[in-house]
């Protein structure tokens, strides 16, 4: 640390690296310099003037957020002059700010309130009429109340710099200046709500939360978003068992500043009116409510009969927890004695693990994406399909000068800052060769690839990576919140948890996903948190079908017994994100008659006299840590809400490749498989994929089978 400078803040001798901004140097020394517009990682504004401090030998107050510390500098942050300036600035701010704190969403967690409480004047000298502007609705999600706005420009910067969207700007001038959306009277954007979260006051409010509750009435539960595979931490605001909002409250997750529309607003499926709250049993051709006891007994009895002579097919989930997946496969293999277990595979993780055979360091973590010197994206529209991954790469490029390359079939947002090349599906490797020289010049590289690269393609990709010379890490992009975990936990016909071959336990590989659905002699189909019959047909007409789900999906409608399952927001456990980072799910809302899949499987086991004794997620996680290669992660990290990297690489993976089973759902920012259909908010923010760079008049591409989206509601 040769470049330290010595200076004094409030009489304390302090050291900080040369170039550190005074506001940060003070923070490190435990002294707060207040600011509204300064925001770590965003460009400097020096607009709010709250951070003015006294620096000896300078004639006027200095701006703490733009002043780099210098050797010998003597700073006073609490002098009478500084206190007067802060008070004066707050008094100015309050002149046109409505004092509607009693009804403002932000009341109780408002930075302006806190600042006035701490530094401000208790009495206003302002007796003139305030400027009033009516509130505007910019989208189903974003509402803007201009008078409350203090013009810190955080929203403008997070949207432009952080998200790369740039949907917000500034209109008018002087006291009439306000934030304006990109389409004049409305927004066309990702609807991520980052602007709302980052707003220090109640100027930007969300359509899901506004005027519903007070912040202090909620319990704030940090858990992991249940939609895509990126594993963002979302904090649920829960009041009386209901989710009132989801936001990025403490920015403590791997996602830091980031959450997308799904993480913030697509929690509403949880309270969808069609949510199942009672087990259903088929009787007289109809599904009728029944008690849990009868439902479990019925399934257990049937399963007991079939396991003696019959053929099972088990389809697991991309959304259920690691514990549930682990228990499901062990129950299937040991209790039902079947190897016919699979899940909707959205990326060929097993093939990657195999291709790397044993190189644990070659799997990139979520954090690597922000620090890597270079990243290469193949066959994925990240901003649509992997929004947080896209955010990491973009901000790595912006803040750390990381290089990004992309080989994609169509235009992507990375085009704005990265080296991008178009390649039709199947021609990715030709495009890679054109980039070879540039890639070989990088000192390190992370390669992220979509579902188009699978099977032998992954082996070829790893060979390509090896040929570049520099260390290369890989991310196999998958679709859903625990797609990676489903694969890691052995929801595969030939692989046990940790990618060990079933032959190690004397079993033969069972039927895969397509084979289960195509089998003519299936006696039972057990579907846990999946909807295979939305696109596929079940050949075996006589199979006894058991479905565990939140809703009466296409598959559940065909079931003999439907067991209402708890959502990811209603359970504890762990999930593994696209990069293999394990994080903790924490139960937020009440379960409304539903049970977690862990409970359901445990109840079935007990009913069948096969109780393993492991009933809580914590107990199962302990078994996972002990027995699954790569999952021996520190509990302290998980328990404190951190992300622990797994490394399930254990030499060659002996499996039968089935690249035809790798099928990405191709979700966009506004779709989330079957689950997304039950989110009213997602349905309302009708945006076509890539609307930001495609012709907006083009019809939105919707997921097959998705419900007709409502007309976007605009303010009158």
């Amino acid at each position: 640390m040769a470049d330290l400078v010595n200076f004094t803040i409030d009489g304390r001798a302090v050291q900080a690296p040369k170039g550190t901004l005074l506001i940060n140097a003070a923070k490190q020394a435990g002294i707060q310099i207040p600011a509204f517009c300064y925001y770590d990682g965003l460009s400097l504004q020096a607009a709010c003037r709250m951070c003015l401090v006294e620096v000896e030998k300078t004639p006027k107050l200095q701006v703490g957020c733009t002043l780099p510390v210098a050797e010998g500098m003597v700073v006073h942050t609490d002098s009478p002059q500084v206190r007067k300036a802060r008070k004066g600035t707050l008094e100015f701010l309050l002149t046109n700010h409505p004092l509607d704190c009693p009804v403002c969403d932000k009341g109780g967690e408002c930075e302006l309130q806190d600042m006035v409480f701490r530094y401000g004047a208790g009495q206003s000298r302002f007796i003139e009429p305030k400027i009033h502007v009516d509130e505007k609705q910019w989208s189903p999600i974003v509402f803007y109340d201009a008078p409350r706005c203090i013009l810190c420009y955080r929203c403008v910067r997070i949207c432009g710099e952080g998200l790369g969207v740039g949907a917000l700007g500034i209109g008018n001038r002087g006291a009439a200046a306000e934030i304006v959306p990109n389409r004049g009277d409305h927004l066309e954007c990702d609807e991520c709500g980052a602007c709302i979260d980052i707003c220090p006051v109640g100027a930007l409010t969300s359509g899901t939360y506004r005027y519903k509750t007070r912040p202090w009435e909620m319990e704030h539960v940090g858990t992991i978003c249940t939609h895509c595979s990126n594993g963002c931490k979302t904090t649920l605001g829960v009041r009386n068992g209901d989710i009132m909002r989801a936001n990025n409250r403490d920015r403590s997750g791997v996602n830091g500043e980031f959450l997308c529309v799904k993480g913030r607003y697509a929690f509403d499926f949880n309270e969808h009116p069609e949510r199942l709250t009672s087990p259903l049993i088929r009787s007289g051709g109809e599904l009728k409510p029944i008690s849990w006891a009868v439902a479990i007994a019925t399934v257990a009895k049937k399963f007991s009969e079939i396991r003696r002579v019959g053929k099972f097919g088990v389809i697991g989930s991309n959304h259920t927890s690691n514990e549930e997946n682990f228990l499901l496969q062990s129950f299937a293999r040991q209790v039902l004695r079947t190897a016919n277990i699979d899940h909707h595979r959205t990326g060929d993780v097993a093939a990657l693990i195999d291709a790397l055979h044993g190189r644990t360091a070659a799997l990139a973590t979520t954090a690597d994406l922000f620090t890597a010197k270079a990243a290469l994206v193949i066959a994925s529209d990240l901003a649509q399909e992997q929004p947080f991954v896209a955010f990491q790469l973009r901000n790595n490029a912006r803040l750390n000068r990381g290089h990004v390359y992309a080989v994609t079939p169509g235009p992507v947002r990375e085009d704005n800052y990265a080296t991008t090349t178009r390649a039709e599906p199947g021609h990715e490797f030709e495009a890679l060769e054109t980039l070879r020289e540039k890639l070989a010049a990088e000192s390190e590289l992370v390669i992220l690839f979509g579902a188009a690269i699978k099977g032998d393609g992954i082996r070829r990709l790893v060979q390509f990576g090896d040929s570049l010379g520099a260390p290369v890490k890989y991310v196999c992009l998958v679709d859903y919140s625990n797609s990676r975990g489903a694969s890691d936990m052995g929801l595969l016909p030939g692989l046990l948890p940790g990618y060990r071959s079933v032959r190690e336990e004397g079993l033969e590989p069972g039927l895969n996903y397509d084979q289960i659905l195509a089998a003519r002699d299936l006696d039972a189909l057990w579907v846990v948190g999946a909807n295979p019959l939305s696109r596929n047909t079940l050949t075996s007409a006589g199979a006894f079908i058991v479905v565990q789900d939140l809703f009466l999906t296409e598959t559940a409608r065909r079931a003999h017994v439907v067991l209402p399952a708890a959502s990811a927001y209603e359970k504890n456990g762990t999930v593994t994100n696209v990069c293999g980072d394990v994080q903790k799910l924490s139960r937020g809302p009440k379960t409304m008659g539903a049970k977690t899949d862990l409970e359901i499987v445990s109840l079935l086991a007990r009913e069948m006299n096969e109780d393993s004794g492991a009933r809580t997620p914590e107990q199962v996680f302990e078994i996972i840590r002990r027995t699954v290669p790569g999952y021996n992660v520190p509990v302290s990290v998980i328990e404190t809400g951190g992300a622990a990297a797994t490394a399930p690489v254990n030499g060659r993976v002996i499996h039968e490749p089935a690249p035809e089973l790798i099928r990405s759902a191709g979700n966009t920012l506004f779709t989330s498989g079957t689950l997304g259909r039950y989110s009213n908010m997602l349905n309302r923010v009708m945006e076509s994929p890539g609307a930001l760079y495609h012709d907006p008049r083009k019809a939105p591409i919707m997921e097959q089978g998705s419900v007709q989206m409502e007309e976007l509601q605009r303010p009158q």
């Binding site: 020096a46 607009a47 100015f92 409505p98 001038r173 002087g174 006291a175 200046a177």
Partner: protein, 434 residues
């Protein structure tokens, strides 16, 4: 065209060709020492040109009075990067109307000044940023630019020097703030006209983040004379450290308002009485706003001082942009204060809190005060609010609003107190909660 009769007391340097027939024509210019200085510059090194400017004690005519030679010397040369010459003709300071005359009557003189600046740092592009309301000047400028291209004074290989220079005009969109040099650059680049964080200063990272010489129109216009006659000759015209002449825009209660080119350091009272024909209707002088509306007012008894940057700074005001407003004994100083703050409240860009909210609040108080709703505590409140803005805003606009307000309150407090006697209690609003 000229809008006032010239005065025999003037020293005509930058306005020397104003009264010639067909003054904007390149032929007129060439026949009257035109483009002689740039030829001379081609024989000089950048250091020599800058040295000449430093000797001349030419100070920025836009308002801040920064020594032009020093400013030019800060610009990194031979960086291999593009660099730019920008003329600030966004003349928007109330009471200032001189750049308009320079463009209207002698555009080639301005071009030549910019060419010399361009040659000094080997820039290849220049922009004249013209105030939006001066749109009609664009036609004159464009015609003159076309002439200069035709005669080889602009474009490729100028006068066989091997050096290229292109010149463009660009109009502002009507914001006072864009006269602030960095806001001007933002506007020039097609962005919202708000000031930039400094440092870096435009000399290092100006237009398009490249090294830039950015001067006022009058500053550039003085450069050809300086190179022709020598820096010392220019310096000798003025007072120490305040070289040359200055276009003084005299307005208000005088008999002959107008723009006069006077030697730096001309006595203010002499400006009023001898140059501008004395007070209108034989009234007595009450006050002078010496350098555009942002300069603090001087009482009549403070006006017997030289009109230059340093003398006015000593009098706790400023020479600013050369707009001298003369106010007679009948002037309602509360009304002047209100008119002034109304302008700044209207023109505050809104970027920073103290300026955005401070100017608006002051405008509201002064409006109420002026309408007869004043309260005794308002006088101190106005002074304190101005003080809360002063030195705390992002750019100088906040100071430009605060300084005159403070000036009116401190120097004419008695008039504000008189107003209270006319106040109607009924007009004092009750404290609103929301």
């Amino acid at each position: 065209m000229r809008y006032n009769e010239p005065s025999p007391l003037e020293t005509r340097i930058v306005s020397q060709r104003f009264d010639l027939p067909n003054p904007t024509s390149i032929d007129t210019y060439l026949a009257n020492d035109g483009y002689v200085a740039v030829k001379k510059a081609f024989e000089m090194t950048p250091e020599q040109i800058i040295e000449e400017l430093k000797t001349s004690a030419l100070r920025g005519r836009g308002g801040a009075g920064f020594p032009a030679g020093m400013k030019w010397s800060f610009v990194p040369r031979n960086t291999g990067k593009a660099s730019y010459i920008i003329c600030n003709s966004d003349e928007s300071e109330p009471a200032t109307c001189k750049d308009r005359l320079l463009m209207e009557n002698d555009p080639h003189q301005l071009f030549e000044g910019m060419l010399i600046a361009g040659w000094t740092i080997r820039a290849n592009k220049g922009y004249i940023f013209v105030r939006g309301e001066y749109r009609y000047l664009i036609e004159i400028l464009e015609r003159a630019i076309a002439e200069a291209y035709d005669r080889g004074y602009l474009g490729k290989n100028i006068l066989g020097s091997g050096w290229d220079f292109d010149l463009y005009t660009h109009t502002g969109a009507g914001a006072y703030e864009c006269g602030e040099e960095t806001a001007l650059l933002e506007s020039l680049e097609g962005k919202r006209g708000v000031p930039r964080l400094k440092p870096p200063f435009p000399a290092v990272a100006g237009a398009f983040q490249a090294p830039t010489i950015l001067n006022n129109c009058e500053t550039f216009s003085a450069v050809p004379w300086i190179l022709r006659n020598g820096g010392q000759a220019f310096a000798d015209l003025g007072t120490p450290k305040n070289g040359g002449t200055r276009l003084v825009c005299i307005s208000g209660h005088v008999n002959r308002p107008g723009v006069y080119e006077m030697k730096m350091g001309y006595n203010i009272l002499a400006l009023i009485n001898d140059v501008a024909g004395g007070m209108r209707n034989g009234k007595k002088l009450k006050a002078v706003i010496p350098g555009g509306s942002s300069s603090p007012v001087l009482r009549a008894d403070e006006c017997d001082i030289p009109y230059d940057f340093d003398s006015l700074a000593k009098a706790k005001s400023m020479a600013g942009s050369g707009g001298l407003v003369v106010l007679d004994e009948d002037t309602d100083m509360v009304a002047v204060a209100l008119r002034t703050i109304k302008f700044y409240a209207h023109e505050s860009c809104g970027w920073c809190i103290p300026c955005r909210e401070g100017t608006t609040w002051l405008k509201k108080i002064l409006t109420r005060f002026h309408e007869g709703g004043g309260r005794p505590e308002d006088i101190d409140l106005i002074a304190e609010l101005a003080d809360n803005m002063l030195g705390r805003t992002f750019c100088a606009l906040g100071d430009a609003a605060a300084m005159p307000t403070t000036g009116f309150i401190t120097k004419f407090r008695n008039e504000f107190e008189e107003y209270l006697k006319k106040s109607h209690v009924a007009r004092v609003p009750q404290l609103a909660l929301v």
